[in-house]
Symmetry: C2
Subunit: 122 residues, 2 copies
């Protein structure tokens, strides 16, 4: 059995997401923390921030923690806010945009393993 | 590809967790919502509520959304609050108790598939 873990908010390290503008990512619990089958990550999206159209090889299950922002999935845009949840299927073209004046934050659960991110030409 | 989904907080149905006292569970995104590999669920634990010692066949990755409460894992108790994250390995004995006067809430991600819950004799 892997070790149990309680990880405090202030111990999570965040890094900028490369292809994005104003998005940061912190792994809350993942492979490095002993989770064998899945990972939970927390993302923040600052006011005015955006992430261009892209696909991932793995599905995303997300839960909005704070703010209001826009998520586009496969040609449709959704305004989401704290409490909303999303399923972004593996391979679906999706993007983010924060037109508000409050930081957006969401939790994103993914299966363990490698992912490949591909930007989509507009 | 399964369909994308945006699910609003008010559309999630909650049911009482059988072996617990004061815990309710709502599946945010899971098998019924087209998620193939994992599920995210939201649990609430009312003031005074508790869940007895038990094991699950599958791991839990959790993120505390609200309140302060106690989580026991394998003989150790942790006070957790909004922003904290937990890894409860498959098979680990764990339990919950809310000694506060505020409702606790957490998100719990699990791999897709069957689970077996087993209560642990005290």
């Amino acid at each position: 059995m892997s070790d149990p873990l309680v990880r405090r908010a202030e111990d999570v390290e965040y890094e900028d997401v490369g292809a994005a503008d104003g998005m940061a990512k912190g792994v809350l619990v993942g492979e490095d923390q002993g989770a064998p089958n899945l990972a939970i990550r927390r993302f923040t999206l600052e006011p005015g921030g955006s992430v261009p159209k892209h696909t991932n090889e793995i599905e995303h299950e997300q839960h909005v923690l704070a703010g209001k922002y826009t998520v586009g999935i496969e040609g449709e845009e959704y305004e989401v806010e704290a409490g909303d949840s999303l399923h972004i299927p593996a391979g679906a073209v999706h993007w983010y945009r924060n037109d508000g004046d409050e930081e957006g934050a969401f939790l994103c659960a993914v299966p363990a393993g490698d992912d490949a991110i591909e930007l989509v030409e507009e």
